[in-house]
């Protein structure tokens, strides 16, 4: 906010508070986001509405401005950190209130790669969109991915890599899934700075997602398609 006048969040009506939250998210103001989440909860908002109408909506703007070169990585990280503050309050409440679930995702950075900023953003946005996310962290071997698929039975496997040298490992994972006869049981989404659509196709992924917002939209559309197929086959 460029206004010099201090804004009392609790004095704002709901619609203005939600807009203010989008501004605060954009500016990476974690404490303000936490305060606003508490205010909306005290006004009887459901955790799901706060999440989708304020946090996810605000983070989507951040994502678009990042894509368009208006915001850069540090600002996105600050925004993500602010959203994380809000999510921390909302997450247990979402579970309690039985918010809608879109599906389940196992996500992790591939073997030999320690970069997780993009992956963390995807995980957070997926949670925001109503997916249950199991984050395997960094440096994941094919065995670790397969074990998680076996135990978690997710709809989606997400793999991330930042390095040209590590991105081919995604193919190792997908090839092993094919060899084990489980490839078609999962939607496989891949992402990371050096990847592109051609690479995603070449390794046999279902889709390459260039950023967190695209990952969410892609995941939603694939899950919907999967459910439709199951309904048609059932």
């Amino acid at each position: 906010m460029s206004d010099d006048e201090e804004i009392i969040l609790a004095d704002l009506p709901d619609d203005e508070l939600v807009l203010q939250m989008m501004d605060d998210l954009y500016d990476g103001l974690k404490e303000e986001i936490e305060e606003s989440v508490q205010i909306l909860l005290s006004r009887g908002w459901t955790p799901y509405d706060i999440l989708t109408k304020a946090l996810v909506a605000g983070m989507t703007i951040v994502g678009h401005d990042f894509r368009d070169g208006i915001l850069f990585v540090p600002e996105v990280l600050l925004a993500a950190n602010a959203m994380k503050g809000g999510m921390f309050i909302l997450k247990p409440l979402l579970i309690e209130t039985g918010a809608p679930r879109m599906g389940k995702m196992v996500i992790g950075t591939v073997k030999g790669d320690i970069h997780d900023i993009g992956k963390n953003l995807v995980g957070m946005m997926m949670e925001g969109a109503g997916f249950e996310v199991l984050d395997l962290g960094i440096n994941n071997s094919v065995e670790k991915y397969l074990a998680a698929l076996e135990s978690e039975k997710p709809d989606i496997l997400g793999m991330s890599a930042l390095l040209t040298t590590t991105m081919p490992y995604m193919k190792v994972v997908i090839d092993t899934m094919i060899a084990n006869g489980i490839r078609d049981d999962y939607i496989v989404l891949v992402g990371g700075a050096p990847l592109n659509e051609e690479f995603g196709k070449a390794i046999g992924a279902d889709a390459y997602c260039r950023d967190a917002a695209v990952a969410v939209e892609t995941a939603k559309s694939f899950v919907a398609r999967k459910h439709n197929q199951m309904a048609a086959n059932g």
Binding site: F72, V73, L77, T164, T165, M167, P194
Partner: protein
């Protein structure tokens, strides 16, 4: 003979070709000093150099198009063009573009690999993937390439979000320069990482340029 501009010019602008010689090297500005040193030491006057802005290192999605445009611009003026870039985060797109244009490029993922020797670097990557690498140029330009673009000048608290999984900073020294080594140590301290200095010299860069010069 091309003269070496300042590091900040190499970062933001690059280096124009002199227009002399039958071989043109199209390189990243971060390699200008090293290439000119090797070229001068060997008397390769038939080799010209142009550099793209080194800061493209932070925007790999722009490298392929920039190299394409530079090849197109100079194609008629030289018998041979050689691209002194590794893959540099282009995800294979630079190699595809070079294949398509009929020009050769450095093998390997990036300059960290070819300074150390690409084969050895890739072998070591299995166990050294938590290292953050800096070359002579990147030590000198640490603020322009690392500190400011990551917003650490404005938000030092973000440091651990970027670097928590890194364990050490490896300074790949192309030259023996105690002052530069001290500067590299400071970079490691600023990032909260252990420090290791590894003298590489010019590695595969020198041997590859020799092949290009003699072809």
């Amino acid at each position: 003979m091309s003269t070496l501009p300042s590091d900040s010019t190499l970062t933001d602008t690059g280096l124009a070709a002199s227009g002399q010689g039958r071989i043109l090297l199209i390189a990243c500005g971060a390699l200008a000093r090293e290439i000119l040193t090797v070229k001068q030491a060997n008397g390769w006057d038939h080799m010209d150099l142009t550099c793209l802005p080194a800061i493209l290192h932070n925007h790999p999605e722009k490298i392929t198009d920039a190299v394409r445009a530079t090849v197109a611009k100079h194609r008629a003026g030289y018998a041979t063009i050689f691209v002194v870039y590794g893959d540099c985060g282009t995800g294979g797109q630079l190699q595809s573009a070079c294949d398509e244009m009929g020009v050769e490029m450095m093998p390997g993922p990036h300059c960290y690999a070819f300074f150390e020797g690409t084969a050895g670097f890739i072998d070591r990557a299995e166990t050294e993937f938590s290292a953050f690498y800096l070359t002579d140029f990147l030590v000198r330009q640490f603020d322009a390439f690392v500190w400011r673009p990551l917003g650490l000048d404005r938000h030092p608290d973000l440091r651990d979000m970027y670097f928590a999984h890194y364990t050490k900073l490896v300074y790949q020294a192309q030259t023996d320069d105690p002052a530069l080594t001290d500067l590299a140590k400071t970079c490691a301290q600023r990032l909260g990482l252990a420090f290791e200095r590894r003298f590489t010299g010019y590695g595969d860069l020198g041997t590859t340029l020799e092949k290009v010069a003699k072809a």
